[in-house]
């Protein structure tokens, strides 16, 4: 009797439990280098798309002598993008209020190697269909931008410098109550936690930021670089 009871109890209790084990892991990251197109089925899917893309995006539109990169707190590509936006909008205008540009580092998605730059390179730099907008920002809210820049560690800015935790805008005087900030619609709507823009007066341009960069690159031919820091801790 006891023998069968033990069979039953042990059997039932083991059945109720799952087979567990202690897994061990060997983990590595393989670099992936370009290899010949050996997977014909994959290439068959890919080829028509590649052909279309190369046809439409491979055109060389500019060049750069130096590599451009995106890196906080400040970098040559961050400066170039902010300058492109600022100069495209202010070149032929006399504004009574200061105009600065504030973009986001996270929105610039690629770097440029030295050499020719194709249309595709600019799509990689700014893949998003973000539009350029003007935001009318009360001077009192500049402190919010300063706090944001301090916390973020650096964003692309133009016509201003961040120094000693202050945003220095040369043309700003005590008489000004507002400044204009050139930015993207995404940021103007509070994207990337730039909540200080929410609820402010905005003027849409309906111009894509990417198109601003493309047009400026075409205009410059060889990109005009400014590697001077604009962010000082």
């Amino acid at each position: 009797m006891t023998k069968y009871l033990w069979y039953m109890i042990i059997g039932a209790s083991l059945m109720a439990c799952s087979a567990r084990f202690t897994p061990t892991f060997q983990i590595k990251a393989h670099p992936i280098f370009g290899e010949p197109n050996t997977d014909s089925a994959l290439v068959q899917i890919l080829q028509p798309y590649q052909d279309t893309l190369h046809q439409e995006f491979d055109a060389i539109i500019a060049s750069t002598k130096e590599a451009l990169y995106v890196s906080r707190p400040t970098s040559n590509l961050m400066n170039w993008c902010a300058d492109a936006v600022w100069s495209s909008q202010t070149a032929n205008k006399r504004m009574s209020e200061p105009v600065i540009c504030l973009l986001n580092t996270g929105g610039l998605r690629s770097s440029f190697g030295a050499g020719n730059l194709s249309l595709a390179d600019f799509y990689k730099l700014m893949p998003f269909d973000n539009r350029l907008v003007w935001v009318h920002l009360p001077v009192a809210k500049i402190a919010d931008i300063e706090y944001y820049l301090l916390k973020s560690g650096g964003e692309p800015i133009a016509n201003c410098v961040f120094q000693n935790e202050k945003l220095l805008i040369e043309s700003l005087t005590a008489n000004h109550q507002y400044i204009w900030v050139l930015t993207s619609d995404y940021l103007a709507n509070g994207g990337d936690k730039m909540t200080f823009f929410i609820g402010l007066e905005k003027q849409e341009t309906n111009i894509l930021l990417r198109d601003v960069f493309i047009e400026m690159a075409k205009k410059q031919g060889e990109l005009i670089l400014d590697a001077q820091p604009r962010y000082f801790r």
Binding site: Y123, P127, Y186
Partner: protein, 300 residues
């Protein structure tokens, strides 16, 4: 004890023992076979279908979907049990996405036979409708456990977890996503709300344990680590939530020289791995079973 009762006990005992027998035998045979599973993983591939250009300042000529396919095929040829996973942000970053709106990424990932993927914030860049259009071409599974998809169309295609049997391994794979507020335009995820990732993880792990999963993997798009130590991240997840064996991460584009091991209070080890971005690395994990432990209730 009369004869009838004795027979009944005999039958019950043999029946229960008999039902247990396959597992019992399996345990012995498992030891001999050295159970092995290969987990391959990517994250933040960002529509990088071609290799990076020759003048790329960090990873010239690296990556590319064909090279990735070749490497994956090699693993599949050499190993019986292979899982292929992705931790999100497969969309956005090259003109392929701008031009073809994610359909090519879905077709190619299907051809590579991905098993399960989770969603990154950029996978919402063409909104719910855009995602639904693209996912028609996907033959793999989408997981996320901390987004409430409500009445949106995505509720039909994204599940909290998937369970996949691979040889001796009953693998539970679940997904966690980052808070989309402030990262993605509101219109792109209207109707989807964000739940606490750690609570969601704890709930889904309970379900996976009840289903007797013996390997639990989290595909996380939370990000590896933040300066703000309170912001949900893979490291915090590994420290705070019990029961995960492996966290395969994304979002922060972290190139890890070596995986991170987090030992929890009860001694359980959680491994974290992430392979940068743009598909220039493929994570490869060989899982083996060091020993089998049967959970047994003490019989008094």
């Amino acid at each position: 004890m009369n004869l009838t009762r004795r027979k009944l006990f005999q039958k019950l005992g043999l029946l229960s023992f008999g039902l247990f027998l396959p597992k019992w035998l399996g345990a012995f045979s498992n030891k001999k076979e050295l159970p092995k599973l290969i987990i391959l993983h990517t994250n933040d591939t960002h529509s990088q279908i071609d290799p990076l250009p020759a003048n790329h300042n960090k990873y010239p000529n690296q990556g590319g979907i064909v090279a990735r396919a070749n490497l994956i095929a090699k693993y599949r040829k050499e190993n019986k049990h292979v899982l292929l996973l992705d931790a999100g942000d497969f969309f956005q970053g090259t003109p392929y996405f701008n031009r073809f709106h994610g359909t090519l990424e879905m077709k190619l990932m299907s051809k590579l036979a991905y098993d399960v993927v989770t969603l990154g914030n950029h996978d919402f860049d063409i909104g719910i409708e855009g995602f639904m259009n693209a996912q028609q071409y996907a033959n793999f599974k989408f997981v996320n456990a901390n987004y409430d998809f409500g009445q949106t169309a995505m509720a039909q295609v994204v599940q909290p977890f998937q369970i996949i049997q691979k040889g001796h391994f009953k693998v539970g794979v679940f997904g966690l996503g980052i808070d989309l507020n402030g990262l993605v335009p509101q219109n792109n995820f209207a109707g989807i709300s964000f739940n606490d990732p750690f609570e969601s993880a704890a709930n889904v792990i309970k379900a996976l344990k009840l289903a007797n999963c013996n390997l639990i993997i989290c595909l996380s798009h939370l990000g590896y680590q933040y300066e703000d130590k309170t912001k949900p991240s893979d490291l915090l997840l590994a420290e705070k939530v019990a029961g995960i064996d492996l966290i395969l991460g994304g979002h922060t584009h972290t190139f890890m020289d070596a995986p991170t091991k987090v030992t929890q209070q009860d001694g359980h080890e959680v491994w974290i791995h992430q392979v940068g971005w743009a598909g220039v690395r493929l994570g490869a994990i060989e899982v083996s079973a060091k020993q089998f432990n049967f959970h047994q209730k003490t019989v008094h």
